[in-house]
Every structure is written in C-alpha cells, then in structure tokens.
C-alpha cells in the first residue's frame, strides 16, 4: 500500500532510503510537522483521527493519480494518527521521479489532495481555552449561513471589483503562477497579525490554493470582530476559471 496510516513515530529517514530506483534522478520529500501555534493561539498538543478504510483507499487513489500525472518512479505517503507532540512529523510524502521538476510538483500536489480528500481530523489542545476540532467551528451560529464565504462560480467581474483581493499563500507557492496572479497583493498567512491592521471599512476577499486556509483565516478574523473579511471558496486559480 503506497498510502498508510500509523500510530507510531514516522521513520522519515528509512522511508527516504526505501524509495529507490536506478532510473530516478530526483527524490522530493515533504514532512508536515506539528506547529506550536494556530491562528495566533498557542497549541500544546494534538490528536489526529482517521476513517481508516476510506483514508487508505482515498490515499491510494491520490498516489496512483500522482504517479500517472507526474510520471513517477515511486511514491509513498504515511500519515500519523493518535496523539502527537509539538515538532512530531504528522505526514511524510516522498515522490521519486526521473527529474526534479516532476518530483517537486508531485510532492506539492499530493499534500494538497490529501488535505482535501483523505478523511482525517485534527483536534488541537490550546494553552488559552478548550480544545477544538480544526475547521469545525460549529458552535458559532453566526457562521451557519456562511455569508462570509464567496463562491467563485457566482462571482462576475462587477462583484469581484467590490472586494480587495488578497493572496494569502506563502511567496514560494506563487512561483510559476501567471502574471495576473502576481498582480494580486500577497500577504502570507504565516504572519496573520498584518490583517488586523487593514482598514475596517473595506471588504477583503482572501484567497489561498484550495479555499481551506482562507476559510480558517476568515473565521479567525471574524471571531475577533473583523467582519469585513471574506473567503474565496475555490482558491485563487479557481477564480481564473470562473472569470473565463
């Protein structure tokens, strides 16, 4: 099984060594680790839970697709579940290809797909309050109708012009993007405090890669009373599609 779940620490070095193929000139790996903060709150530890059977079948489907799409010589992903401490590896991805371009691209594509489709949940334990299931802000009735969520499919140029669009991805993620994306202001989410200083009387539309981070950041800002923030549901590239 190229995708698997484990309750033990992930042996990243051994996994790298095991991905071997004499025709492969590049191995790209990604290790996702537990951070000590989430949207400005101090995180003490966390727990991952999975729907094992579906997680494994979805994970294998994603890796099979990556293999074809990027002509890989090998690919492996392992996600840890159970209780993790700060600094622990939560996921490891290795993509082996003839050349570096395919290896890098596959690694990035796999992590985005895993986040979007593999049934795994994360509960964070905070220093300043009760633990929460991430992305499930369900106690907040004011968000029930998702008025802060902007659907790219319903967005024309006129409606888009009403917002100031901000790309919240990290600068690395913008490499290779078309010119129109580079024209969009970039305020990386890794420094969330900067958003608190934006004018309160203008609506801002936040966009990331898939609409997950922009949703989290928008909810965080709104929880602090900044109701002039909105999240683009498709991610920034979905916008090009919607406007085409």
């Amino acid at each position: 099984m190229p995708f698997s779940l484990t309750r033990e620490p992930i042996p990243c070095g051994e996994l790298s060594a095991a991905l071997a193929n004499s025709a492969a000139g590049g191995l790209s790996t990604f290790e996702g680790r537990v951070r000590d903060n989430h949207l400005g709150r101090e995180v003490l530890s966390l727990t991952y839970e999975a729907y094992d059977k579906l997680a494994e079948s979805e994970g294998d489907r994603i890796l099979a697709e990556a293999s074809k799409r990027f002509s890989l010589c090998g690919v492996r992903t392992i996600h840890r579940i159970g209780e993790l401490a700060i600094g622990d590896a939560a996921i490891w991805i290795g993509a082996l290809a003839a050349h570096r371009q395919e290896a890098f691209a596959a690694c990035r594509w796999v992590i985005d797909e895993v986040k979007a489709h593999v049934p795994i949940w994360k509960k964070e334990f905070y220093a300043d309050g009760p633990a929460e299931w991430v992305n499930c802000a369900c106690g907040h009735q004011q968000y029930a109708h998702d008025a802060w969520q902007v659907h790219a499919a319903h967005l024309g140029l006129t409606q888009l012009a009403a917002y100031t669009l901000i790309d919240i991805r990290e600068p690395m993620e913008r490499l290779g993007d078309p010119a129109w994306v580079h024209a969009v202001p970039n305020l990386p989410m890794s420094e969330p405090d900067i958003y608190l200083q934006l004018p309160a009387d203008r609506p801002f539309l936040l966009a990331c890669a898939k609409g997950i981070r922009s949703r989290n950041l928008t909810l965080w800002l709104r929880e602090q009373g900044h109701e002039n923030f909105f999240s683009l549901d498709t991610g920034i590239h979905g916008l090009a599609h919607a406007l085409a």
Partner: protein, 79 residues
C-alpha cells in the same frame, strides 16, 4: 430503512459513540443527516458535511442502499 451510522471526530464526541444502527425514514445521506442531526442537536450545516456509503464517498442526494453503513464526514483537517 435500517442504516448503520458511523461517527467520527466532532460527531463521535457529540453522540458519545463510534457507531449505531438506526431505523430511519431517510432515503438519502442528506436526509439521514437531518434526522440524526435533529436527534443529537448537531450544529454543523449540511453543506459542510460529506458522506461515505459502504466505505466510498457518495453525493448527499444519492440513494441509500438497503442495510448500508453511512459515515458522516465532518470538515477534514489532515496533513
């Protein structure tokens, strides 16, 4: 119809169980969610929940087969 419902994460904590078998009048995952939601007071809106029937993702308005296992999938946070 008899449906075995599987609960994960937030839903597991809100119901206090991993799974249970219920007699539901629902014919689709969406309708089953509304019934169970009413019973336990779930506050997550339907459009944020995904469904798996017998271990495969299925649309919210698909037809539930007889004696199936329906997993309620709250918003994901893996990776």
């Amino acid at each position: 119809m008899t449906v075995t419902i599987r609960y994960f994460a937030l839903f597991r904590e809100q119901t206090g169980k991993d799974q249970e078998t219920l007699e539901l009048s629902a014919a689709t995952p969406a309708a089953a969610y509304q019934e169970v939601s009413h019973r336990y007071g779930f506050s997550l809106p339907l459009d944020r929940v995904r469904f798996a029937v017998n271990g495969q993702y299925q649309p919210a308005d698909s037809a539930l087969p007889a004696a199936c296992t329906l997993a309620l999938i709250p918003p994901l946070a893996g990776g």
